[in-house]
């Protein structure tokens, strides 16, 4: 049976997860696949993210309909009812058209049965293989059977077949027989060998005797075919190329006709002294045979030590890997990136940087692992190798980025901020003692708040920033490192460091070529997925979208926005091809009201795992549980993780009619979806059920876990110096402790369930299926289109008399697109769209309500007032070029802003050929205290003007005064081009600002050239200022919708990394220039991402809150307001009209901060009331009477 999904998301890193969640929350089924055996991509390895230096992945989790996904640490696992996850799976083919793709996937087996593996780790203990651990970036070894990520849930061991030594020790050690090497299947796996080589004919059967394979050596292809035709269940054919060429070819063709799935391996003799010509001939023949379907090549002469494991592994892959196909509406590619490896030959720089040969030279990823508490040094910053504490650390930027020699004519975008973060981390870890130095070319702090972060690092924390690029590293004294570099004054400086961190850049994923071929997409010159500048979320194939850092290197924030935009594209595509969404949503389950019943707890203990019986006194446990208050029955369930197990449980429950259910099993998060089903069957609210992890407790004290009672007692007796069996029953190695532990866990959960509030949840809010978009510029219009195309009504409110906004001022882009044409088309589409109602010359005057139900009054220019009911709001009020009045701007004709120059160049009123010189000053009044942020567009704006000037007049001198050129991503290419075209870039610092005077109405600029440390005097015709971007005044709008602004007047999003287009106030989203400086491309992305966030709300019929929300006992409340300020979600407010603190149940995420802050215990959390928590603590501490009695 072929499964159908709305979308297939390839890559389960943060980009993929974001896209998958964005789609799943609108009700689409999503298949999420990843080639790795674990979720989370590179973020599983990173513990610290700037600016908070914490992990925040969980902030991505759904805020509405929370109970549809387990609210749980996303680094550990993702559980959503609409998302199916396939790990260790790759996309191998994509046929069909948008709306109905056939995706072929190949799942590589991990050889460990996840339903049996109990993650006890005995297999890894006996494994003799050691390879560098991917998780610890190679700083620590791992075994060939290993946990890909130690903190995953569920976490099962996997066998890395490539590094497996085939010793079978893990197979023998596994207590649950979870490791499956297919021993039984071997005797049905016949191998035919067609070879004229008699030695092979003799040797092979002997070699494979132990391996259980039936072997059929034949001397000719003819005989082999006879065997096949005779109906032999053959799985593999070894075909010797020393047979006559025609025979080889015929045998291969015929064999594949008989058995299309047969794996044919070619035996090719590679003589060392063989003639080269002969080898080339063979290579050609092999290539031809590969085309006909041969699978692999095995070199002759065969050696037992290599051939046997090789064939064994091939067999394992053949019988274990599976291929399956899915029907999907759209595909999102989020395969992410690979970190540049300096050790990669021949283009690496390992030799110059001592990488790999000196323990003090680390990549940024390795440093990240070193600083991680789960890393190889438990988070102590010490040098691998000699363990010296790291006090002097240097960071080297642009390793593998911005280097045309390493095929990297791009900037990796994230490394600058990572290095600053790591430098600050090192400072903080050492209480400020560490010396942190960053060697850079341009510090690309091009986000809205990044410049402040850098200033803080430089001025407050004392991180040194040195503009230099040391080319090679020398070993220094005492295992330290010596760095030589020339500073700007031309002096050679030498410094000694304990460690050097190479800030490695991004590379396309290793599987890119395969993936591009399978998905049928184009890649760009740098090997990343090709996207067009003005349709940044689309790949070259319709219906296939690029998310995360797949299309262009990006930081977390950029990936999140890109992923949201990709989700919007996919969602729209699915709607377009599948028509309007199903109008029959699932019925809301109805639950019996049990609030007036006496609590009756049914307790079910899963007894499937052998660990329970072996390690715990199960009878005692059951007896103790039965006498707990409220427990009506304790039942054993065989294998709670299977369907049969749950059926037994349901039958028991139907017979007992409990109003609370407690299940003791493993992996509680796996069972959450089943609780919902059980709840529907029993008409019992799943909030009154719980699953307790008794598995971990049963494994405590693992050394004796699997010997069972007998072994345990024997070892205890030996420990006391007695004969085994001398004092039977006496055993102090943990069984009693484990039983106690487990019973207290269960008792705690039972106490919590007893106190659970069975009353029904606050009523759900019905959703008005219409969106309001404020601002009719590029962002607003794109967002409106994104929502309208998915079948929802949109009202677009624009203050001006025309749509278009700031983007109308642009004339060309770096990539050569025509923004004017693009905007014309967009305006036409918006005005013609039947779902969009455009209100020009209008403004919002009043808004009330919350997510799902806003009521807003819009006043138009003619004095009309419209009252709108809408479920979501997008604020796209935009920005404008900052006004600069210095340097003769707006007074003298020879001084222009970049935007004015662009317009005049396009209109022809500035004639490049008649100019004798142009000077530009970047960062004018940006990145200093008046406007301390990078405006992001000016560097690219300057570059495009330079290239245009140079195109028209190649001999024109152009001088650019800059601080750091912020061309992240592929825009770096144009920086290279601008330099190549002859523009001269002169760096200045805030202290050495260029001075401008005017002589004969022409600017005279004097400045310091830092490279020559000489005064330069310029007499250009034109002076062009990069004045930067300012947000439009949105204080009023922000006030109306109850959202906040940054110091500079941009919208303050909920979380700069994980929720970049959301506000804390749910249901209101921001995009475009109002959110932060952005190019056209970035504006398009944020608008699309915001649209998808809004669609998520609109596609619900009603919004209901989670089970765990805060409530207020109004009579106890003193209105002190402490809870309002501590609430991280902005869910609480003081309602002045009613003189009450009110909680927005949709916003409240049940974190409990308010409860801790409240001095009167007036605020309570459903599910965590004081009495309940106290009862749980009592249960945990209670000395069980049964235990005291010595049971």
């Amino acid at each position: 049976m072929k499964k159908e999904y709305g979308a297939l998301v390839v890559g389960a890193g943060i980009g993929g997860i974001r896209s998958a969640l964005d789609l799943a929350e609108t009700g689409l089924k999503v298949a999420l696949i990843d080639a790795r055996p674990s979720l989370g991509g590179i973020l599983t390895q990173l513990d610290h993210q700037f600016p908070s230096d914490h992990c925040g992945m969980c902030k991505m989790l759904p805020l509405t309909q929370r109970d549809q996904s387990s609210q749980y640490c996303l680094r550990k696992g993702l559980f959503h009812k609409n998302i199916d996850i396939y790990l260790h799976t790759e996309l191998t083919g994509l046929e069909g058209d948008p709306g109905k793709f056939q995706a072929t996937l190949r799942r590589r087996s991990t050889f460990v049965d996840p339903t049996r593996c109990v993650s006890c780790g005995l297999c890894a203990e006996v494994c003799p293989a050691r390879v560098p651990s991917e998780f610890n970036a190679g700083l620590a070894p791992r075994t060939a059977v290993y946990l890909p990520v130690p903190h995953n849930i569920p976490n099962h061991y996997v066998v890395d077949l490539d590094n497996c030594q085939r010793c079978w020790r893990c197979y023998e050690a596994c207590p649950t027989k979870a490791i499956d090497f297919k021993f039984e299947q071997r005797k049905d796996f016949h191998i035919i060998v067609a070879t004229p080589d008699e030695r092979i004919t003799q040797d092979l059967p002997l070699w494979f005797k132990d391996e259980n394979f039936p072997l059929h050596p034949t001397a000719t292809g003819e005989k082999a075919l006879e065997l096949l035709a005779g109906g032999l269940e053959c799985g593999l054919m070894l075909l010797d190329l020393d047979l006559p060429e025609a025979e080889v070819e015929r045998t291969l063709r015929r064999a594949l006709e008989l058995r299309p799935n047969l794996a044919v391996v070619l035996l090719v003799s590679k003589d060392k002294d063989g003639a080269k010509n002969e080898d080339e001939g063979k290579d050609k023949a092999v290539a031809a045979l590969f085309k006909q379907g041969a699978r692999e090549v095995l070199a002759k002469p065969l050696k037992q030590a290599q051939a046997v494991p090789w064939l064994d592994k091939l067999f394992m892959r053949l019988v274990s890997d599976e291929s399956f196909s899915l029907e999907v509406g759209a595909v999102i590619l989020a395969a992410g990136f690979e970190c540049y490896n300096p050790g990669d030959n021949p283009n690496g720089c390992a030799d110059l940087m001592l990488y790999g040969s000196h323990p003090g030279v680390l990549t940024s990823l390795e440093f990240e692992r070193l600083a991680s508490p789960t890393g190889p040094s438990q988070g102590l910053l010490t040098r691998p190798g000699d363990g010296k504490p790291l006090h002097r650390i240097a960071w080297l930027q642009c390793v593998g980025s911005r280097d045309v020699k390493k095929q990297a004519d791009f900037c990796s975008s994230f490394c600058c901020m990572i290095s600053i973060k790591q430098a600050l981390l090192a400072k903080r870890r050492s209480c400020g003692e560490a010396e942190a130095t960053i060697f850079y070319m341009d510090m690309r702090t091009n986000g809205r708040d990044y410049q402040r972060y850098r200033d803080e690092a430089e001025n407050t924390a004392g991180v040194r920033f040195i503009p230099a690029r040391p080319h090679s590293i020398l070993p220094g004294p005492d295992g330290d490192l010596l760095i030589q570099y020339y500073d700007y004054s031309g002096e050679l400086r030498e410094e000694v460091f304990d460690a050097l961190v190479l800030a490695v850049g991004a590379r396309p994923p290793k599987s890119m070529e395969r993936l591009a071929l399978a998905a049928g997409i184009e890649v760009n010159d740098s090997g990343f997925c090709a996207t067009r500048y003005l349709s940044p979320n689309r790949t070259s194939r319709l219906g296939v979208f690029a998310a995360g850092a797949f299309g262009e290197p990006a930081d977390i924030r950029g990936s999140m926005i890109q992923a949201g935009a990709a989700a919007m594209g996919a969602s729209r595509m699915i709607r377009v091809y599948h028509g309007p969404r199903d109008e029959t949503p699932e019925a809301e389950p109805e639950y019996t009201d049990v609030s007036r019943q006496v609590p009756r707890v049914l307790m079910a203990l899963c007894s499937s795992c052998p660990t329970l019986e072996l390690n715990v006194n199960a009878d005692a446990l059951r007896q103790r549980m039965a006498i707990l208050p409220g427990v009506v029955k304790v039942v054993d369930v065989k294998r709670a993780c299977t369907r049969e197990g749950w059926d037994t449980l349901r039958q028991e429950a139907e017979a007992t009619a409990p109003n609370r259910v407690l299940i003791g099993a493993c992996l509680p998060y796996m069972h959450v979806p089943r609780l919902r089903e059980l709840g529907e069957d029993l008409k019992l609210n799943p909030a009154l059920m719980d699953v307790v992890d008794i598995h971990t407790a049963s494994l405590a004290g693992r050394a004796t876990s699997f010997g069972g009672h007998a072994a345990c007692r024997a070892s205890c007796a030996a420990g006391r110096g007695e004969e085994p069996g001398a004092s039977p029953g006496v055993c102090d190695c943990g069984e009693t402790a484990r039983t106690d532990e487990m019973s207290s866990l269960l008792a705690m959960a039972a106490a919590k369930l007893l106190g659970a509030d069975p009353s029904s949840l606050p009523q759900a809010t019905p959703v008005s299926p219409q969106a309001l978009v404020v601002g009719g510029g590029l962002a607003g219009m794109t967002a409106a289109m994104g929502i309208a195309d998915q079948g929802f009504k949109v009202v677009l409110v624009e203050e001006a008399e025309q749509l278009g906004g700031q983007a109308m001022n642009l004339r060309y882009t770096l990539g050569g697109d025509d923004p004017a044409r693009f905007m014309e088309d967009l305006i036409e589409q918006v005005e013609k769209n039947p779902n969009i109602r455009v209100l020009k010359d209008s403004r919002v005057v009043l808004s009330r309500g919350k997510a799902g139900r806003f009521v807003t009054v819009v006043a138009t220019g003619e004095g009309m007032a419209h009252t709108l009911h809408h479920g979501a709001t997008i604020l796209a009020t935009g920005g404008h070029e900052a006004k600069v009045y210095e340097y003769g701007n707006r007074v003298r004709k020879c001084v222009l802003t970049q935007l004015e120059l662009e317009q005049r160049l396009a209109a022809g009123s500035v004639d490049a050929s008649s100019l004798s010189g142009v000077a530009m000053i970047q960062c004018w009044r940006s990145r200093e205290e008046s406007r301390n942020y990078c405006s992001r567009v000016c560097c690219q704006g300057a570059l495009k003007n330079i290239l245009m000037l140079k195109k028209r007049n190649p001999g024109l001198p152009v001088y650019v005064f800059y601080r750091d050129i912020m061309t992240t991503g592929f825009a770096e290419h144009y920086y290279t081009e601008a330099r190549r075209s002859g523009a001269i870039f002169i760096r200045y610092t805030p202290d050495t600002r260029p001075k401008v005077e005017f002589k004969d109405d022409k600017p005279v600029i004097t400045a310091l050239d830092p490279v020559l440390s000489a005064q330069i005097e310029l007499h250009p015709d034109l002076l062009v200022l990069s004045s930067g971007v300012e947000p439009n005044d949105s204080a009023e709008i922000a006030d109306l919708f109850g959202v906040s602004l940054t110091d500079n007047g941009f919208y303050q999003e909920a979380e700069s990394k994980w929720r970049p287009v959301d506000f804390l106030k749910h249901g209101v989203f921001a995009c475009g220039l109002g959110l932060g400086p952005a190019t056209m491309r970035e504006t398009l992305l944020s608008a699309k991402a915001a649209a998808q966030r809004a669609v998520r709300i609109l596609s619900e019929k009603q919004l209901s809150c989670g089970n765990v929300v805060a409530e207020i006992r109004d009579t106890l409340c003193s209105r002190c307001g402490r809870c309002i300020s501590v609430c991280p979600y902005g869910a609480r407010a003081l309602d002045l009209d009613r003189d009450k603190i009110v909680v927005d149940e949709l916003l409240c995420q049940g974190c409990g901060s308010c409860m801790a802050a409240c001095p009167n215990s007036a605020t309570v959390l459903r599910g965590f009331r004081d009495e309940q928590v106290m009862a749980v603590i009592d249960a945990a501490l209670a000395v069980q009477p049964a235990a005291a009695a010595g049971l």
């Binding site: 020699k405 080319h471 031309g490 050679l492 001999g955 002859g982 870039f985 050239d1009 000489a1014 330069i1016």
Partner: protein, 191 residues
């Protein structure tokens, strides 16, 4: 003490494409982003009056005379470290060589004198099919018209002689490279 030819203040030359030889060198290094990798890589940088990074910068500003007065490019021993390591893939060693050619062709007497070493070297190689150190140095001293120069090189010469590094006798390869040089001349003449 370094005799620096770095200007303290200057007005960049207008970027006109009249001086073809200068433009040729400028084109080689236009994409330079002043990262300084070349300078840090250069084994001879300690002896240079301008660092390579500064010299490229001055070239781009059109400060031709100042560059030609410096000895930086003469000290380039063509080890190619900078070319190998330049992240912009610029032909820096070639640019150094182009500067030497330019200085020899149009520089002042000091530069022409510096070029003598190279000329004599190539002349010697052409004649002998390899370098013959004794003959080469003799010709060089003569060409330099400086009676004190042999004294300066004396100690070094003796040291090299003691280690057997000075080739004294005749060479069996004499004149063997003649056709090669002739070919190069004809190619240069043709272009």
């Amino acid at each position: 003490m370094k005799n620096t030819h770095k200007p303290i203040a200057f007005v960049p030359a207008p970027l006109v494409f009249q001086d073809e030889t200068l433009v040729e060198v400028q084109n080689m290094v236009r994409a330079c982003m002043q990262c300084g990798t070349c300078t840090a890589s250069c084994p001879n940088a300690f002896a240079m009056d301008l660092t390579p990074r500064q010299m490229w910068r001055m070239l781009l500003f059109g400060l031709k005379q100042e560059v030609l007065q410096s000895r930086t490019f003469w000290l380039c021993s063509a080890c190619y470290s900078c070319t190998l390591r330049c992240p912009r893939d610029l032909p820096l060693t070639a640019a150094m060589a182009a500067l030497k050619r330019m200085a020899a062709a149009e520089g002042d007497s000091a530069n022409r004198k510096k070029a003598l070493f190279y000329q004599e070297f190539m002349h010697n190689v052409e004649q002998n099919g390899r370098i013959q150190e004794m003959g080469f140095m003799c010709h060089y001293f003569l060409a330099m018209h400086d009676p004190l120069l042999p004294m300066e090189y004396g100690p070094l010469g003796l040291k090299l002689l003691a280690k057997g590094k000075l080739h004294l006798g005749g060479s069996g390869q004499r004149g063997r490279l003649g056709p090669l040089f002739a070919k190069v001349r004809s190619m240069e003449g043709a272009s």
